[in-house]
């Protein structure tokens, strides 16, 4: 793929997919086999201490929230290993660092050879916690909504006067950067801005902050919205910010790359695909324990696509059930229209676009040769 950026640690792909490195899974899927997901995106809780104005979790409330205990997540990881999951990203609909299972989860995943990434606000991620997990992580991506303390606190918390949350996050990010360097760790450290049109003033301060922190990258991405436009994102307004985004990218240094997810930003919220093939490769699980094909379907509204809950049934049994494959097949059937029946720009967007083009024959996925990119098991 050409949509990559070279960092000091290797090739980083954030604005595309990595299916070319998983052709065994693509070929099996195309041949009608039941494949395990390469990547699972999940959370260990739906709780969060932040209140980000762009947060999609506000639209993801299912019928039940179940408490996820350490036993549950250890079994879950064992089952992931059994079905061939290679990478787990702790992102989804909650702040996983708040869970008592957070450290055991990461350490057990590492023992099974499953790669782990984590998106976090970093507020509850002091040295006593971060140092236990950093050696086992592939990547950590800190949500940093803005480059200035007041706007950060306004967007992510109760108001501009609460800059203590910014200070706490910066302290913990700086520690992680220093710890990585001191111990020569392979973990990639990044910060992320979820761009709503009204945050335009923070694009350049965010990029400058990334450089100042010395993280490996600072990425600016679109904001997802549901099909009812609950968050009110006006995608037509992104175009007016292209010049500023170009300027932000130009601030990249040899140490810190400023990356804009152009593909999603230019997509303007409407996918090219009608069928939604991505979840078979990149499954999502809610911090409520709910297993559904995508985070787009966590809300009770999409109950027909709710497959099970791993706290009252082993994941391996859910995966092997007809329910699982019926839900996946529903998304591949004419009964489902991805252009009108789900929110915009899901985490499976790149993968779904590529698989759809592959099946239509308009752009076949080719197997990759040569050195693997960073985080190859995170599609």
């Amino acid at each position: 793929m050409s949509d990559s950026v070279m960092t000091n640690d290797g090739e980083l792909i954030l604005d595309s997919h990595k299916l070319s490195h998983h052709m065994d899974r693509v070929n099996a899927w195309e041949n009608g086999e039941r494949i395990g997901p390469v990547t699972v995106d999940m959370s260990l809780t739906r709780a969060c201490g932040a209140m980000c104005s762009f947060c999609y979790a506000m639209m993801q409330e299912p019928q039940e929230r179940r408490g996820i205990k350490t036993d549950h997540i250890l079994h879950l990881l064992d089952d992931f290993a059994e079905v061939g999951v290679k990478g787990v990203s702790l992102v989804s609909d909650g702040e996983s660092t708040l869970s008592k299972s957070y450290v055991p989860f990461i350490q057990h995943a590492a023992s099974l050879g499953i790669n782990i990434g984590n998106a976090t606000n970093g507020w509850e991620w002091g040295p006593e916690k971060s140092e236990q997990v950093l050696p086992h992580m592939s990547w950590i991506r800190f949500t940093v909504a803005a480059g200035t303390p007041e706007r950060y606190a306004e967007i992510m918390y109760k108001g501009p006067e609460h800059t203590e949350v910014f200070d706490k996050a910066m302290k913990n990010i700086r520690h992680a950067v220093a710890y990585k360097k001191k111990h020569n760790l392979s973990v990639t450290l990044g910060i992320q801005m979820v761009l709503m049109p009204e945050f335009e003033d923070e694009i350049i301060p965010f990029a400058k902050l990334g450089v100042e922190l010395g993280v490996d990258y600072a990425v600016i991405k679109h904001c997802s919205d549901d099909e009812y436009q609950t968050l009110g994102i006006d995608y037509s307004k992104y175009e007016a910010m292209y010049e500023l985004l170009d300027q932000a990218e130009a601030l990249s240094t040899s140490k810190t790359k400023i990356i804009v997810k152009w593909d999603k930003i230019k997509d303007k919220g409407k996918p090219s695909y009608k069928r939604f093939y991505g979840p078979a490769f990149l499954l999502q699980i809610s911090g409520s324990g709910l297993v559904a094909p995508s985070g787009m379907f966590f809300n009770a509204r999409y109950s027909k696509l709710h497959i099970g809950n791993f706290t009252n049934e082993r994941f391996i049994d859910i995966f092997n059930s007809e329910r699982y494959w019926r839900a996946m097949n529903y998304l591949a059937s004419p009964s489902f229209d991805a252009q009108t029946m789900m929110g915009t720009l899901p985490i499976q967007h790149y993968v779904s676009t590529a698989l759809d083009n592959h099946i239509k024959g308009t752009n076949k996925i080719q197997g990759a040769n040569g050195k693997k990119p960073l985080h190859v098991n995170f599609l």
């Binding site: 086999e33 506000m58 099946i359």
Partner: protein, 124 residues
């Protein structure tokens, strides 16, 4: 495609994901449905749902011209059964009333008291 048409039915029943429909448009609702009043659609749906599952209490909240139907399940159904039940119900309504029908459960708002301070209302 890797599979022939003759194998598709067996494929759907026993294997992975049917990839035959990438270019297919989703079905639209027919004239009969479109020309009905909203109340008539709701009544038709409620009668059909009662026949399908008399033991499950379901309210029809809305039935739009484009086939998008919003329902509320008032009975308790285990998570393991709920999805399959609703997909079966949708199949039933498609085959007995209109192929363009899609059912959706009533949406739930965020239960996080902190995030709720944002005042976001989940729309349906």
């Amino acid at each position: 495609m890797v599979l022939s048409n003759a194998n598709k039915m067996e494929f759907q029943m026993n294997k992975g994901i049917n990839l035959s429909y990438s270019n297919t448009d989703s079905p639209s609702t027919g004239l009969s449905w479109v020309n009905m009043t909203r109340d008539k659609r709701v009544s038709l749906l409620e009668n059909s749902i009662k026949l399908f599952s008399p033991e499950i209490d379901i309210n029809v909240i809305d039935a739009q011209e484009n086939g998008q139907v919003s329902i509320l399940i008032k009975s308790s159904i285990e998570i393991n059964d709920r999805g399959a039940f609703l997909l079966n119900l949708e199949d039933h309504l498609k085959s007995t009333i209109d192929i363009g029908i899609n059912i959706w459960h009533e949406a739930l708002g965020d239960k996080s008291s902190l995030r709720n301070l944002r005042g976001i209302e989940v729309l349906s």
